[in-house]
């Protein structure tokens, strides 16, 4: 560890020079920056996404002393770094860590922090801050980032004393990763990074208002739940992201197997139950399956596991599962009875609750008619698209990709919009943590940097970003990171030259009036909705030229517009050694169906 002795330390404390060749001990004076980096490593962090600047330079200097145990990846935008850290967290369950400098660096993290809050992602964001002496003076690159982030973090720190650094990092990891996980911000003024103290990495934490212990359901509540299941005639399980966070998918699968109850999943919960399981009703909600939404509407018992009754799931919340009793198990007490009152609210670690439930639960007496009904709905009205369409429909591209990669155990990330929903519908997930989506906040530009983070954790694995042409442009600079850091992410770019989801809403609810949803030049007739309805397919007419952009960054790239060429093009992408962008020409008239318009009910479902 002698190589981690800082030049600054040598300079400022010549008395320590004698120890420079000896192994470092706990009693040595260490800079705040080094304490922070050492603390990260002690908490098992192996990758950090960090973009330097004036007020975070000491931290970056300390990162260079971390050796090869901690890889620092330089994103090309702080938001990309923060989403990459989310990619680490969402795919592994570990805490993701990102770093930025003060001011604009810090504010560039804000979207990804808010995103982590809504999807309960364990994230630690470290920001440099102007020196404590000038805080509050509107110094160069000063923003009160703690104030900015107060409402979008699980917790936040402004560290003003170097003696607090080790404790703050320890607390940050506890808070980010326990209970309902979430983002924690550590704002660290430059003088605190440079100040010296003798670190105590085993210090006590000071969290009198925070209990990291998992809440456990009372046995009485478990008995009530089991009794309700036993009595149910039309039960359904509604499982979400909390199950994946709790690593409780095996318990859910056991519950399904033991009781024979059909299961539907939220967009955060895909993979909890294999899509190939006959009892899986796939995703529910606004763009969920017809059969899942029918089943919830008719159910007499809804077993809600690690979910929060989001409006994109419930539509009009009063009508959601109107006839059913609700068992709601969640680790966050504030989610119980928040949007929808539960008959049996259970504040518990969902894994514990399900383990206990699985010990005593009995299958309902006879739900064979109900299960048959669900499966008939599933057979009659599956996710579908026009397979005869002569060009490449987005759904067809995703299904083809799935068919070609399903055996390769890939991890898939997405942006936000139509392509995201089609990926949720047509890419069939068999395992949790193989599908990463910005679900609560719905942040365009999530897919590419998230895939970058995933690839850093799984170097040999296939990582695919299914993206849209609008979404990818929001963080396209990360193609540079992929190339420079040798992260061979594959991008299936479903390019319809439009902001497809907004176009869909224009078509459905605004008489098709195009309001800034065409992504090409303003003198193109498509801009005002006066085009031929197909849009240009000649690569020269399309904007921007993603193949050139990708090649400019050093990625492999190709353009495909013919249906007959799609498989070969995907095969070429998969075989490519390095990051790759496959630009797929798709039409923009295609709508994501089925659709329950916002605030409406299953009766208002649009199927055509």
């Amino acid at each position: 560890m002698s190589n981690s002795l800082t030049p600054i330390l040598l300079h400022l404390t010549p008395s320590h020079m004698a120890t420079a060749t000896k192994p470092r001990t706990k009693t040595e004076l260490t800079s705040g920056a080094d304490i922070l980096v050492q603390s990260l490593m002690k908490h098992g962090v192996d990758t950090i996404f960090a973009y330097p600047g004036g007020c975070s330079m000491p931290l970056h200097q300390a990162l260079t002393r971390a050796g090869d145990k901690l890889r620092t990846i330089l994103p090309r935008h702080e938001q990309g770094g923060a989403f990459a850290a989310q990619g680490v967290a969402r795919s592994t369950g570990k805490v993701g860590v990102c770093m930025a400098t003060s001011g604009p660096g810090a504010t560039n993290l804000v979207t990804a922090i808010a995103d982590a809050k809504l999807d309960s992602v364990p994230l630690i964001a470290i920001t440099g801050q102007v020196p404590t002496a000038v805080i509050g003076t509107d110094a160069f690159q000063e923003t009160p980032i703690v104030e900015v982030c107060r409402g979008i973090t699980k917790h936040h720190y402004l560290v003003t004393d170097v003696n607090d650094v080790a404790r703050v990092v320890k607390e940050a990891f506890i808070i980010a990763s326990t209970g309902r996980p979430g983002p924690v911000l550590i704002d660290m003024p430059k003088d605190v990074q440079l100040a010296m103290c003798v670190p105590d990495y085993d210090c006590d934490v000071n969290l009198p208002g925070y209990n990291p212990e998992k809440p456990h359901a009372h046995i009485e509540q478990i008995k009530q739940a089991a009794a309700a299941i036993k009595r149910a005639k039309k039960p359904i399980i509604y499982a979400g992201g909390g199950v994946i966070t709790a690593e409780a998918h095996e318990e859910v699968r056991q519950l399904v197997a033991k009781t024979g109850i059909p299961i539907t999943m939220t967009v955060m919960g895909l993979g909890i139950c294999p899509a190939s399981d006959p009892l899986s009703l796939d995703m529910l909600g606004m763009h969920g399956s017809v059969y899942a939404n029918y089943a919830v509407d008719e159910a007499d018992l809804l077993i809600a596991l690690g979910v929060r009754f989001d409006d994109r799931v419930t539509g009009k919340v009063d009508e959601f599962c109107k006839h059913g009793k609700i068992i709601h198990i969640d680790i966050d007490a504030a989610e119980l009875n928040k949007n929808k009152p539960a008959h049996i609210p259970v504040c518990s670690d969902v894994k514990f609750a399900l383990q206990e439930l699985n010990k005593i639960v009995e299958a309902p007496e006879d739900i064979s008619d109900w299960v048959a009904k669900c499966q008939k709905w599933k057979k009659d009205e599956p996710f579908k698209y026009n397979e005869q369409y002569p060009g490449i429909l987005q759904q067809h591209a995703i299904r083809t990709l799935w068919e070609m990669t399903r055996e390769l155990d890939p991890i898939v990330t997405v942006g936000v919009g139509q392509h995201q929903m089609w990926a949720a519908q047509f890419y069939k997930f068999e395992k949790p943590r193989t599908w990463l989506s910005s679900s609560g906040l719905g942040t365009m530009g999530f897919g590419l940097p998230a895939a970058m983070g995933v690839q850093s954790q799984f170097p040999g694995r296939l990582v695919i970003d299914i993206d849209g042409d609008g979404s990818i442009l929001m963080n396209i600079q990360e193609l540079a990171t992929l190339v420079c850091e040798k992260l061979p992410v594959k991008v299936l770019l479903l390019n319809n030259q439009h902001l497809g989801m907004v176009v869909q809403w224009e078509d459905r609810f605004m008489q098709g009036n195009r309001a800034h949803t065409y992504l090409g030049p303003i003198d193109n007739p498509e801009w005002s909705g006066q085009g031929d309805g197909i849009g240009p397919t000649d690569p020269k007419e399309r904007y921007p030229n993603f193949v050139q952009i990708a090649k400019g960054f050093g990625c492999g790239a190709a353009y495909v517009e013919k249906k007959s060429d799609l498989k070969a093009a995907i095969a070429e992408m998969l075989a490519y050694d390095g990051p790759y962008v496959l630009d797929v020409a798709t039409p923009y008239q295609e709508h994501v169906l089925p659709m329950i318009p916002g605030g409406k009910t299953v009766k208002d479902m649009i199927k055509e």
Binding site: V146, E147, R150, G151, K154, H155, H156, L158, I175, N206, L207, P208, G209, Y210, D332, A333, A334, N337, K338
Partner: protein, 176 residues
């Protein structure tokens, strides 16, 4: 419905902003908020008066408890408790009205804490209803300035059922 919540919070910078920001961003209606140090220097006490039905109260309580620096939240309104509000009030008091104001001060057990040529500063503490009643009585004289601390509350040592005769109504308590 009116509820009194009492929160013990860590005495660290930003707690008040965090709590106030959470209440504002979630749209909860807060009638009064009082903050001060406690017998333990590392802890402060926040007392809220929340207006809303039981569901709103439950959500406010749970959301408060989620804030890491909030150590504990008690629903004081559900228990037998003492509640006080401190007010300073400056009222016009010309020679013809001074005696009358003084009489009212005595009846309400308030105190005159500053005397000016034609105005008086009065201190009054008590339950919210008493304070409001006193304000109403002062209004005709001409209130110049008024400041209140917001409600603070503490649970009684021995809980007696309300209306059992064991609890003396506080001064100014208006029976329903």
């Amino acid at each position: 419905m009116r509820h009194v919540l009492s929160a013990l919070v860590q005495n660290v910078p930003g707690v008040l902003a965090h709590v106030a920001g959470m209440l504002a961003s979630r749209g909860y209606n807060i009638d009064s908020l009082a903050v001060g140090e406690t017998e333990q220097p590392e802890l402060s006490r926040m007392t809220f008066v929340v207006v809303g039905d039981d569901n709103v109260l439950e959500q406010v309580r749970k959301q408060l408890e989620k804030i890491v620096t909030v150590v504990r939240v008690d629903d004081i309104g559900a228990k037998d408790h003492v509640e006080r509000d401190l007010m300073l009030l400056k009222v016009k008091a010309e020679p013809g009205t001074r005696t009358e104001i003084h009489e009212l001060v005595k009846i309400f057990r308030a105190r005159i804490v500053d005397v000016g040529p034609d105005e008086l500063m009065i201190e009054l503490s008590g339950q919210e209803k008493k304070v409001i009643a006193f304000i109403d009585m002062m209004r005709p004289f001409g209130i110049i300035e008024l400041v209140r601390t917001g409600r603070i509350a503490m649970v009684r040592s021995v809980t007696r059922p309300l209306g059992s005769g064991g609890v003396k109504p506080a001064v100014g308590y208006v029976a329903k």
